[in-house]
Amino acid sequence: MALAQLYQAQFRTSLATMIQYRASLVIWLLGQVLEPVIYLIVWSNVSVAGGGSVGGYTTGDFAAYFIVLMVVNHLTYTWIMWEYEYRVRAGTLSAALLRPVHPIHADVADNLSSKVVSTPGILLTALVLSLVFQPTLHLVPWTAVAFIPAVALAFVLRFLVEWSLAQAAFWTTRVTSLNQLFFVAMLFLSGQMAPLTLFPPAIQTVAALLPFRWMISFPVELLLGNLTPQQTITGFAAQAVWIVLSLVLLRIVWRAGVRVYSAVSG
């Protein structure tokens, strides 16, 4: 109950802050839109050059893929890995450590509230892009319904993994290089750059074993109707397993990180 009140208050605060930064929010959204649009244009051209389809993807399929990807990426995105280094350096973490609540709650509320503000913008963009690029999308009721928990779990997983990795800031002040490594792996293995089925089988296996596919690609594949019910259930199971694992990781890393912090800087 008290936690619900905390979220309510944190949510209000984050929202009020967010609204103060409308202009930067728009610029940030633009960046989020541009990346998938560039891939969309590249792949559409490749597809046209290949006689209308590449690896089973038609030009319309690519359009659908990247537009849905843009929405999913937006809904699961967090900026925590970039922010944490600043927190440790600037000492704002100390203030958080003096409060009788785990600082992750503030971050969850922050991220969720930002989505409330920016999601209408992304959906509008998706609509405009659909008019321009004519995606081929046949919605099936059961996948549309299953898409919602798949995105929610993808957000939880991505948030927990990135929050855990952000704790690296406790050990090294050069977190940026670790962030880069993570985002490069993410770019290839989460389906951000191209649908995973276009990669060689070996890479597809790696992608299925690592958490990246379950953070972004899985809900996209699901909504586009590329997955059988059996594959969907496997996908949810993979998300669940990775969420449990990342929760364990988060607990370990957080405790160890605070121990290091309280040994050297405070």
Binding site: A2, Q5, L6, Q8, A9, Q10, R12, T13, A16, T17, Q20, Y21, G91, T92, S94, A95, L97, L98, R99, P100, V101, R259, S262, A263, V264, G266
Partner: protein
């Protein structure tokens, strides 16, 4: 005898600092072999604070004051020694402990920059799970004591430094902490605002019986609030006792001010003449000789008025800091 609010015994904090000389060669060397050095920021200090006590914690920059406050509030893990605050071991950061303390730092921002302070206060209410009635009453009292009324609705970034500090202090005290750590709470503020904040903490201590440990560079803060002071230097405890006995112990001279008709020529026979103008003479006299000197002055000269004063507290503190930290610990009677 009640349990102490704060208890430390041989409290020590050692930092390991890696060091390296400038230049490319040293940079490459440091990749393979890092030279480290141990810095004893706090070196075996022991003290106790009774509940409700207000104590000044003094020392020059780098003496270990902030490190000590961070250990007491649970942000730093001590390297050795023991400490308890309200019966808790701070570094465990138990929720029950965190709800009963606060650390106010002069440069710390806990208010959200872009929204009015009132909204940040609401957030703190949820964080500390304050019942609505208690929260409203505390907020009303803090608003009155700090004169916050017109400030609460403005975005924090639009407040002046002093106004923001008042809001920061209020935010830190909404949960009515029983132990308050103040690290330079008046830094950068003008004299009026300093006086105001000082008066506030005196009132807060009286009203809520909170234990307060205060560091400040402004001796006025300390004089106004603290009967007892703890002085540390280079991580070691130099003095723990009454402010008055600190002055006693560390002053070798007194200031004698005599009002005469005119300035006599032989004034230096009585002591070191600091100044003499229009018959108002200021003399610096060794402490032990003060009674004899004043008696002689009164006997020899047509004295209109005579006062004996201790030197300003700043001077005393300077003298304390100038001592070697390794000199034997001086216990006052506090």
């Amino acid at each position: 005898m009640t349990d102490p609010a704060i208890h430390t015994q041989g409290l020590t904090k050692v930092y390991t600092v890696s060091e390296r000389e400038a230049g490319m060669r040293a940079a490459v060397q440091s990749l393979v072999h890092r030279r480290t050095e141990e810095v004893r920021a706090v070196d075996g200090i022991s003290f106790e604070l009774a509940p409700g006590e207000v104590v000044g914690f003094l020392g020059p920059n780098g003496a270990g004051k902030t490190t000590t406050l961070k250990m007491l509030s649970g942000l730093l893990h001590p390297s050795a020694g023991s400490l308890t605050v309200l019966g808790h071991v701070p570094w465990k950061r138990e929720k029950d402990f965190l709800r009963r303390i606060t650390l106010v730092m002069g440069q710390r921002n806990q208010l959200v920059w872009d929204i009015p302070a009132a909204d940040s206060f609401e957030l703190n209410r949820a964080i500390y799970r304050l019942p609505a009635g208690d929260y409203k009453q505390t907020l009303r009292e803090l608003t009155e004591l700090l004169d916050l009324g017109p400030l609460l609705k403005k975005p924090v970034r639009n407040l002046s430094l002093g106004e923001r500090m008042k809001c920061e202090i209020a935010a830190s005290l909404l949960h009515r902490p029983q132990v308050v750590f103040l690290d330079e709470p008046t830094i950068g503020l003008d004299v009026t605002m300093q006086r105001r904040i000082r008066a506030f903490f005196a009132e807060y201590n009286q009203r809520f019986g909170a234990t307060v440990l205060l560091t400040s560079h402004y001796m006025n803060d300390v004089e106004a609030l603290c009967r007892r002071v703890i002085v540390i230097h280079e991580g070691r405890l130099l003095f723990d006792g009454d402010l008055a006995s600190l002055v006693q112990r560390f002053t070798s001279h007194k200031t004698v001010v005599v009002q005469l008709e005119t300035c006599p020529d032989n004034l230096s026979a009585y002591g070191e003449v600091v100044s003499c103008e229009d018959g108002l003479a200021t003399l610096r006299v060794p402490k032990g000789e003060t009674p004899r000197v004043t008696a002689r002055l009164l006997a020899d000269l047509p004295v209109i008025d005579l006062t004996v004063e201790d030197p300003p507290i700043e001077e005393v503190i300077e003298r304390v800091f100038a001592q070697k930290a390794s000199s034997p610990e001086t216990k006052g009677d506090g």
